[in-house]
């Protein structure tokens, strides 16, 4: 039973990583950019949610989530347009792009530290304390929000990429930029849409993480594990990002109880390195060479 509970909380945290990792993979697929700032974008979303709650106490969590996602989505759009697109267009090397996103991440987290302070804050929402009994064990109600968000998102993305013109256009650009362009599809559109959506999804992850734990300027570290998850699942693959995140979530939760909680991050990364040594492009990644 203890084991089952560990797995349940591992699944919930894994889904939070998964939301960040999905955004990370979408950006990678559309632009080839490995965005190390994705975790800090999640942090920004969580703080926007915190500000909404501070301004209008009693705002329902769902409304907070939507507002934070919208705000962060617009921010992601601006970031792509002003910082990343010029660099990608210059065909800067992968090393430069990674360093650029690291720089953006540092500026975001330390900017948030100036704006919202160095101390962690918590969401004043009833969901933070509410629990649901499952087989006699109390589970945080936020877990169910997280699972619902993940299910809705996966369904929504499936519809978006297979049934809407915009989604098909993005896929077209990802598959073959030149052909898409001759068909009159704006290639920059795919990049903008992916960034905006990835940022909005990251913000949702931040808002859903906040009632369980806290919000702080350095929570981008969670994003680092999400990146590990996306890489372990296979870069650019959305199912891979979710699978990788679940593996990290479970591994971390089991490792924390079996070995020691202070080695949680090490367990996550050791798991990733081990899997990469066996499958160098991740679990569901494209077979290269």
């Amino acid at each position: 039973m203890e084991l089952l509970l560990t797995l349940i909380s591992g699944t919930a945290i894994g889904c939070v990583y998964g939301l960040v990792a999905i955004g990370f993979s979408m950006i990678y697929r559309a632009t080839g950019l490995v965005n190390f700032a994705q975790g800090d974008i999640m942090m920004l979303g969580a703080f926007i949610g915190y500000t909404v709650l501070a301004l209008v106490p009693g705002t329902p969590l769902v409304v907070v989530l939507v507002l934070a996602s919208l705000g962060t989505g617009v921010f992601g759009l601006l970031l792509e347009r002003l910082v990343f697109r010029p660099a990608v267009r210059r065909e800067a090397s992968q090393t430069y792009l990674v360093l650029l996103t690291l720089g953006v991440g540092i500026v975001l987290s330390n900017g948030a530290r100036l704006a919202w302070g160095a101390n962690p804050v918590v969401y004043a929402v009833p969901e933070a304390h509410r629990t649901v009994d499952l087989l006699g064990y109390p589970l945080p109600v936020t877990y169910f929000y997280i699972w619902a968000a993940m299910a809705l998102l996966l369904g929504g993305l499936q519809l978006f990429f297979s049934h809407t013109w915009t989604g098909l256009a993005v896929r077209g650009v990802v598959d073959n930029k030149d052909v898409a362009r001759t068909l009159g599809i704006d290639a920059d559109l795919a990049s903008s849409i992916s960034f905006a959506m990835a940022s909005a999804i990251g913000a949702a992850a931040g808002v859903l993480y906040a009632p369980l734990f806290y919000v702080s300027f350095d929570m981008g570290g969670i994003g680092v594990k999400a990146i590990a998850a996306a890489v372990l699942g296979g870069l650019g693959s959305i199912p891979g990002a979710v699978l990788g995140s679940l593996v990290i979530g479970w591994g971390e939760a089991l490792g924390a109880t079996a070995i020691a909680p202070q080695y949680q991050d090490s367990i996550a990364f050791a798991l990733m390195i081990l899997i990469l040594l066996l499958r160098p492009t991740g679990l569901l990644g494209a077979r290269l060479r």
Partner: protein
């Protein structure tokens, strides 16, 4: 490019040596002339400059982006202190053991080279996080979060080097040796291979360069030199704790290398000097430190992608064209 530089006054290799003498000469003389606090700053700059030189060879020249360099400073620092404290070794063998073990840890990380590009980079990030958590939590060996106090004074051939000048001189000898080694290496066959891999790994392999062997070699050397820098840190501070070897330190060393100019050895030293000395004189803005560092990183990537070294090179070229 090559043809033009050869027709100039100095060959490319000559210019590299001139840059070495200028940068290392300045770093030797300024702290010794100013003394006092500047000497302490000089000691600090030398430590990070050594580490940055190692990272520059990996990242700037061979294109092997490591996001876990602080781990190797940490391994160097802990191995040196543990062999002195537990085994009672004198400084030189302890330092040698530290460099060898950092190199071996680097070789272990280098086994990940069969991962391509970004997979490798994220793996190095993981490697750094694992080492830093082990240093913080393996309390029975590393002393955990509180680490060690009372680090022994460096003794060389029976003489205790307890003056700061002696400490500085030893660090600078190590720095000069590491720099000369890396410069010699970059002028030879290995250096050409490193640069070829850095520019295009697949093309390098197609012309018969054993890319994985060279990648492992440059990672091992870079990490061993990182460990050499780490050896001096506890001896300067007289305490050793794990917090100096976190993910943040890896980022800071990476920013040093980038601001100085990716691929440039003198740039790595100058970048280290700027990022160590700058915050000391801007203490009232301490809370903006990382914000400014991040801004510097974005600025170097967008406005001056070759860093300060690129700016200097361009200025010199313009001057020689005008003459």
């Amino acid at each position: 490019m090559r043809g033009r530089s050869r027709s100039g006054l100095m060959s490319e290799q000559g210019r590299d040596w001139a840059a070495l003498f200028a940068v290392v000469g300045a770093l030797w003389s300024i702290p010794l002339l100013l003394g006092g606090f500047s000497l302490y700053l000089g000691c600090m700059v030398a430590i990070y400059a050594i580490a940055a030189l190692g990272l520059q060879a990996m990242v700037g020249q061979a294109g092997q982006l490591s996001l876990g360099h602080a781990a190797f400073l940490g391994i160097g620092a802990y191995v040196a202190v543990l062999s002195e404290k537990l085994l009672g070794w004198p400084f030189l063998p302890a330092a040698l053991a530290a460099v060898v073990l950092s190199g071996l840890a680097g070789l272990l990380m280098a086994q990940l080279v069969r991962l391509s590009g970004i997979y490798f980079e994220v793996a190095t990030l993981g490697f750094g996080i694992i080492v830093s958590q082990v240093l913080s939590n393996w309390t029975s060996v590393t002393g955990g979060f509180s680490g060690f106090r009372g680090i022994p004074v460096i003794t060389l051939f029976g003489h205790a080097a307890n003056s700061r000048t002696a400490m500085f001189a030893m660090e600078m000898i190590a720095l000069t040796l590491a720099y000369v080694l890396l410069l010699r290496l970059s002028h030879g066959r290995a250096g050409r291979a490193f640069r070829a891999i850095g520019q295009d790994d697949v093309a390098a392999r197609s012309v018969g360069i054993a890319t994985n062997g060279y990648r492992m070699a440059v990672i091992t050397i870079g990490c061993a030199i990182g460990g050499l820098g780490g050896v001096f840190l506890p001896h300067l501070m007289r305490v050793l704790s794990p917090e100096g070897f976190s993910w943040q330190t890896s980022l800071v060393v990476l920013i040093m290398v980038t601001v100085g100019g990716l691929g440039s050895l003198p740039g790595a030293v100058v970048g280290a000097a700027i990022l160590v000395v700058g915050p000391e004189y801007l203490r009232q803005f301490a809370e903006y430190k990382m914000l400014v560092y991040g801004g510097l990183l974005i600025l170097s990537m967008t406005v001056m992608p070759r860093g300060l070294a690129g700016v200097v090179r361009q200025a010199l070229r313009r001057k020689s064209a005008a003459a």
